[in-house]
């Protein structure tokens, strides 16, 4: 109101730490670029994105060379309303605390130092900080055990004294390689702009935080390539940690296909013949394996068995607690976290940033979709009534049992069949949570299935067959959630899921987001029992995708309607185009 151009300004400061960014504003792009330097993207639904300015985000910004004045100038320039004094004061306070303490090397020893003895004393009073401090050299210096560098940083961060880490990194052993212009498979290859920028930002040597950090990119956007680009920028021996053997093999395949690395330079650290190569790919499960609860995790030694210059954490949001702890002791090595969904249901996102490094890149999914780097996806939720005979069981069941009854609603099966038939010629990935349900689906639909018990060879074989279009569909349990690369699969049907897990929803959608050769859109169906708790959980599951800019279409498999008709409606076809089995559904429950 005060400024005639005020409505063109895209920022609204809301509350103590939240900033809203209006997408429709003409200044959206420039404001976002500047805001991202010191604020965390929390959600990016269609019209208004939400950012949070926290102590950590301000400290990360300071570590990346963004001054306090730049942050405030951005807020004042783009804010539609006056920036609340308290908000500005908070940012000033956070910024003023940054860099009062420094981790440096003095005479080959790691030292925590400050030019202000009071600050150092105040920090040292904190109990958690005290645990990781070494002997005090003088009022301005503490010796630090290099193994405790990460834990000390985390403790200082929590105590509100983020140190600047100027102790540097171990360079690792040199590993020279280049990207191929033509892949081994014969296709042309070139890094995409955002991949190149992500790698450049990661390896930027100008700032203390350069060399460690987290890259957040949508599934299918080529995070593996970003990882390889970071390795290429550093030209150093690398340990890559993945969530599964399938994912590890895909990493190796990508490395060999897209770079000049030779097969004897890249190895899989798995099974009896585990190999340590200049580029070693291992799984989290392998690292944390132990024979019994009381025995140590012997495989953790892999971190020390070579002079790694870089450690890559794939799907960093799944980092298990023991690896967290080991990572804390690996602060002298550069660390790269890769994820599509930095949503930890345990709320430890901040610890990921603290131990791995600040978020370097975070691109909303819809933005890459608009640029054509990931497939356009249509997300649909179809609500299916419980059969009449099951409704009383449902009503009388305990809360947890109700979810299972709703998830395993047998009326979902004809609808899945109809959906598969509604997408002829398109391989369909069918995902379920319960093993019995997976098997039942496989049996009812006449499709193969994979569970955690399936051998790696069988997994490789069936995924390859699905990808090649030799299978109409494949039913998978949770093993299909992560790191399964199926570029040509464009239809996914989620029959049941892990309660309200937003991360699982996003990862499952991610399986079909890789752009297709014929540019066809991806279809993601979520089947939910109507009038049950599954609806409430589904609402929460969709939140992440809604907050990435996706819209959900919701529809009902009406009582008496034919499953095929419903499926066709959702597949965007008319009933006359395809003749599908018309199994009537029972009426919707009124529970």
């Amino acid at each position: 109101m005060t400024d005639p151009n005020a409505t063109a300004k895209p920022l609204i400061v809301q509350g103590a730490d939240t900033v809203l960014l209006e997408v429709m504003s003409p200044a959206f792009g420039e404001a976002r670029a500047r805001l991202m330097a010191f604020a965390e993207l929390v959600k990016a639904p269609q019209h208004v994105h939400t950012y949070r300015v926290t102590a950590l985000s301000v400290w990360n910004a300071r570590a990346s060379g963004v001054s306090l004045e730049e942050m405030l100038e951005t807020l004042h320039r783009y804010s539609r309303y006056p920036v609340p004094e308290s908000f500005e004061k908070e940012i000033r306070t956070h910024a003023s605390r940054y860099g009062r303490l420094r981790l440096v090397r003095r005479d080959d020893a790691l030292t925590l130092e400050s030019s202000d003895p009071d600050t150092l004393a105040e920090a040292a009073v904190d109990r958690d900080v005290q645990k990781w401090l070494g002997p005090r050299r003088d009022p301005l210096h503490y010796h630090i055990d290099p193994e405790r560098r990460g834990l000390l940083k985390l403790a200082l961060l929590k105590a509100g004294f983020p140190p600047t880490d100027e102790a540097g990194y171990s360079d690792g052993d040199r590993l020279a390689f280049e990207f191929r212009e033509q892949t081994l498979a014969g296709g042309a290859f070139e890094l995409r702009d955002y991949q190149r920028e992500a790698a450049a930002g990661f390896a930027d040597p100008r700032f203390a935080a350069g060399g460690s950090g987290v890259v957040v990119l949508p599934c299918g956007a080529g995070k593996t390539i970003v990882g390889l680009a970071c390795m290429h920028a550093l030209q150093t021996t690398t340990l890559v940690l993945c969530t599964s053997v399938t994912a590890a093999k895909q990493w190796i395949a990508e490395a060999l296909d897209k770079t000049t690395l030779e097969p004897d330079e890249v190895g899989l650290y798995h099974g009896p013949g585990r190999e340590l190569r200049p580029v070693t790919v291992a799984t989290y499960q392998m690292l944390t394996y132990r024979r019994s609860r009381d025995e140590p995790m012997l495989n953790l030694e892999v971190f020390d068995r070579a002079n790694w210059g870089l450690i890559v954490y794939d799907e960093v949001h799944l980092l298990p607690a023991p690896v967290f702890q080991v990572t804390a002791a690996l602060q002298a090595r550069r660390r790269l976290g890769l994820t599509a969904t930095l949503v930890r249901e345990d709320g430890k996102e901040d610890e990921v940033f603290a131990l791995i490094g600040p978020k370097k890149v975070d691109v909303p999914w819809r933005e890459l979709e608009e640029q054509g780097w990931i497939a356009t996806a249509v997300c649909s939720e179809i609500r299916v009534p419980l059969p009449v005979w099951q409704r009383l069981d449902y009503a009388r069941a305990p809360k947890r049992q109700r979810f299972r009854i709703a998830s395993e609603n047998i009326q979902k099966i004809p609808l899945v069949r109809a959906l598969v038939e509604a997408h002829p010629g398109q391989p369909v990935l069918i995902m379920a949570m319960y093993l019995e349900q997976v098997k039942e689906l496989g049996s009812a639909l006449g499709l193969p299935f994979l569970t955690g018990d399936s051998s790696q060879a069988k997994r490789d074989e069936l995924f390859a067959a699905l990808e090649a279009g030799e299978l109409a569909g494949l039913v998978v349990s949770k093993i299909g959630n992560f790191s399964v690369d199926l570029p040509e699969v464009s239809v996914a049907i989620q029959v049941s899921g892990t309660f309200g897990s937003r991360q699982e929803e996003a990862q499952r959608l991610g399986r079909i987001l890789r752009p297709k050769r014929d540019r066809r859109q991806a279809s993601f169906y979520s089947l939910v029992s109507s009038g049950t708790v599954e609806e409430d959980f589904a609402l929460n599951r969709h939140r992440f995708l809604c907050e990435q800019g996706y819209e959900y279409r919701i529809s009902y498999a009406e009582p008496g309607s034919a499953a095929g008709a419903v499926a066709n409606e959702w597949a965007g076809r008319s009933q006359t185009e395809t003749q599908t089995g018309a199994e009537p559904l029972e009426p919707a429950p009124s529970l």
């Binding site: 109101m1 409505t7 609204i12 809301q14 809203l20 639904p45 269609q46 539609r80 609500r383 819209e551």
Partner: protein, 704 residues
């Protein structure tokens, strides 16, 4: 002329000698030691003092000069530096009159002997005193055959416009006094006063002579003419005299009167020109603010201090954040539009109109809550809401003008509980004016405004204050109230009504251009002033900038109390809303909030329709479907007490059913339901016993 002659000698003295001379009593003897030898030498050399032995006295011919100069020193009425703490205060003029005039002279000047002390400063300090003199001289000039031609040259046409009206004629005594003065002297006097008015700053007497000589072009005649003119001007208290810091005699007009007269001349001569504003605002802020308050009362009733209408600061901050921001150029005009005052006004107005009431115990849990009347009002269309308030204010005869203030509680009225004064009550008004009903004059004044073009507000209001004050008649009865006071009072009423009613109700479009206010009557304004039977809203009452996102969040890009009120009926407030942010993610659609709305009468069409209307972006399909699904899932069930008889087997149940009669109902093979009662009726019990069924009554777990 003796004064003029002495002045020549005075100008030649150094500063110390001047001040030494002023310390000497005009008719007393002084010891030569009382003066510095240099000063004594100077004064004696200039003939200003006589020095006989050790005795020094003011020369007889200069005693009148001494007396006048000492008086001018004591009452330095034109020297702002002399009393920097009280510049232009009327007491200074009073002191000046006492110094320079005897009581008899003052009584003659003011024509009302009993008002010589208080009344004369009022009269002589008014711009009217000077303007009446001007008009008198003009009339004399017109009447005198010989003066007609001379007068035509003498007076500048541009200043011809008198600013006083018929009620401001000279009183008889003053006119008779001036009649005795030669017209030529009066014309010179006119020139002197008019020149000082144009200069707007005092002249030294020496400069005045120089300027006058230049005007008349005759060095022999000039000083005498000016001396005579100055004599009349001083005697008539048109011109005041005092000395400056260098002990030089100065002449000038009473600054307040000069400023007022010059300002009025400009206003009278300058028509109120149409202009183009750079920014314009036209919103019924009063209605919007009340609406914001009602939202607060509906969502989280604010806590009130024991006094009743003052919120606790946290609640006030929450309300203030919800108010639509006004451009800063409005606030800078001290027009009562601070957020704090808006909150306070909203509370009082909404209470007086019966939209809110107080609930709870003062000092403990007193809160302001929405009434049924308030709920009904909020459900009206924006136009109807505004119309209701206008009708309550302007059509209710009790509301016209309530000098004693708004009535917040008047008893059980059909429409609300209080009465708001249509003319806002101002305390900056003289008591006699309280008996005047200003409404007709206010309406007439603003009807002179335009609905076509923007007019400058300040000149418009001043012209209305000068020309159409309903208080003028009262002034004649109370001579101690000056003309300026009357005008200031009326101007204050005009300004208050303008901002607190016309602007607050959206009756005018207020614009700004280079920090000057401009205004134009809106359609609402024409209706309010009785010029039109109905009105149309020029622009939407409230520009809604609300976005419904696919994740079910509702984001306010601009404060919009109306939208909030509607949304709060079916969405849950977020922490940002509770913290009093008028913008941001204020609400979230949840299953509970939507189903609660359904229980309150919302159906899918109404709720989804409301979301579609409010959202500036297309409503996401999943939101519409989800909301509909939640609404469709709402079912009603009835609970009622019943008396159940559990029979051991089906056979017994049948016998119970038969004994209990047609009101009994078999609800399972072995359970019979009887009409609700504390126990089985004795008549039924008797029949059951006759049928061989004995009933043991089981007590409910809570003993009932």
């Amino acid at each position: 002329m003796q004064f003029v002659d002495t002045l020549s000698a005075w100008e030649r003295l150094d500063l110390d000698s001047r001040w030494s001379f002023l310390e000497l009593k005009p008719s007393g003897d002084h010891h030569s030691n009382d003066l510095e030898p240099e000063a004594l030498g100077e004064l004696a050399g200039g003939g200003l003092v006589e020095h006989v032995g050790s005795v020094v006295r003011v020369a007889v011919v200069h005693r009148a000069f001494s007396k006048a100069m000492r008086a001018m020193d004591r009452a330095r009425v034109l020297d702002a530096d002399a009393r920097p703490d009280r510049p232009g205060e009327r007491s200074q003029l009073s002191a000046y009159l006492v110094e320079h005039f005897t009581l008899k002279e003052r009584q003659e000047l003011c024509a009302h002997p009993r008002q010589a002390v208080e009344g004369l400063p009022q009269l002589a300090g008014s711009y009217l005193w000077i303007d009446q003199f001007f008009q008198y001289v003009r009339r004399r000039v017109r009447e005198a055959d010989q003066g007609a031609a001379e007068g035509a040259d003498t007076f500048d046409d541009s200043s011809d416009a008198g600013v006083t009206n018929a009620s401001d004629r000279l009183d008889k005594e003053r006119r008779q006094r001036l009649d005795r003065v030669d017209l030529a002297v009066l014309i010179d006097c006119y020139w002197l006063v008019d020149s000082l008015l144009s200069a707007m700053s005092p002249w030294s007497v020496e400069d005045a002579f120089g300027i006058f000589l230049e005007k008349v072009g005759d060095p022999s005649d000039g000083p005498v003419r000016l001396a005579e003119a100055l004599q009349v001007a001083l005697n008539e208290v048109l011109v005041l005299a005092c000395i400056d810091a260098n002990a030089r005699p100065m002449i000038g007009l009473w600054p307040a009167a000069a400023k007022a007269l010059e300002g009025r001349r400009v206003l009278a001569a300058d028509p109120v020109a149409a202009e183009s504003p750079s920014e314009v605002i036209a919103r019924p802020v009063m209605v919007e603010d009340m609406l914001a308050l009602l939202v607060e009362c509906a969502v989280a009733p604010p806590r009130m201090k024991a006094g009743g209408f003052v919120m606790f600061s946290r609640n006030q901050d929450a309300l203030a954040a919800r108010l639509t921001p006004l451009p800063p150029w409005i606030g800078s005009a001290s027009t009562g539009w601070s957020l704090e005052r808006r909150c306070d006004a909203a509370c009082r107005q909404a209470y007086a109109l019966g939209f809110v009431t107080l609930a709870g115990t003062p000092g403990k849990d007193l809160r302001m809550v929405l009434t049924a009347s308030g709920e009904s009002w909020t459900a009206l269309s924006p136009k109807a809401r505004l119309r209701y308030v206008i009708d309550r204010l302007s059509r209710d005869p009790r509301s016209r003008f309530r000098p004693r203030g708004d009535v917040l509680e008047e008893g059980p009225l059909t429409e609300g509980v209080g009465v708001l004064s249509f003319v806002p009550v101002s305390l900056q008004m003289w008591d006699p004016f309280w008996s005047v009903d200003p409404l007709p004059a206010l309406v007439a004044a603003y009807r002179r405004g335009s609905s076509e073009v923007f007019l400058r507000l300040a000149p418009f209001l001043h012209q209305q204050a000068l020309a159409h004050s309903p208080f003028s008649e009262k002034t004649s009865s109370y001579r101690w109230i000056s003309r300026e006071d009357t005008e200031a009072s009326w101007l204050n009423v005009l300004v208050t009504f303008f901002f607190l009613r016309l602007f607050a109700l959206g009756a005018i479009a207020l614009g700004v251009d280079n920090e000057d206010f401009l205004f134009r009557l809106t359609s609402v304004g024409r209706f309010l002033l009785g010029e039109a039977p109905d009105f149309e809203l020029d622009s939407p009452i409230e520009k809604t900038e609300v976005v419904v996102q696919p994740n079910l969040e509702i984001v306010f890009l601009a404060p919009s109390p109306g939208a909030e009120l509607e949304i709060s009926a079916f969405a849950s407030p977020t922490r940002a809303q509770q913290n009093g942010h008028g913008v941001g993610t204020l609400y979230r659609l949840t299953k509970a909030s939507v189903q609660r709305a359904a229980a309150g009468g919302y159906d899918a069409a109404r709720l989804v329709g409301a979301l579609r209307n409010l959202s500036t972006q297309a409503l996401p399909a999943n939101v519409a479907t989800q909301v509909q699904a939640w609404l469709q899932a709402v079912r009603w069930a009835e609970a009622r007490p019943a008396l159940l008889v559990e029979a051991g087997d089906a056979e017994t149940a049948i016998r119970v059913l038969a004994a209990a009669g047609k009101e009994a109902k078999l609800i399972s093979d072995t359970v019979v339901e009887l009409p609700p009662a504390a126990s089985v009726p004795s008549r039924t019990l008797k029949k059951l016993v006759e049928a061989g069924v004995f009933v043991r009554e089981r007590t409910a777990p809570d003993g009932r």
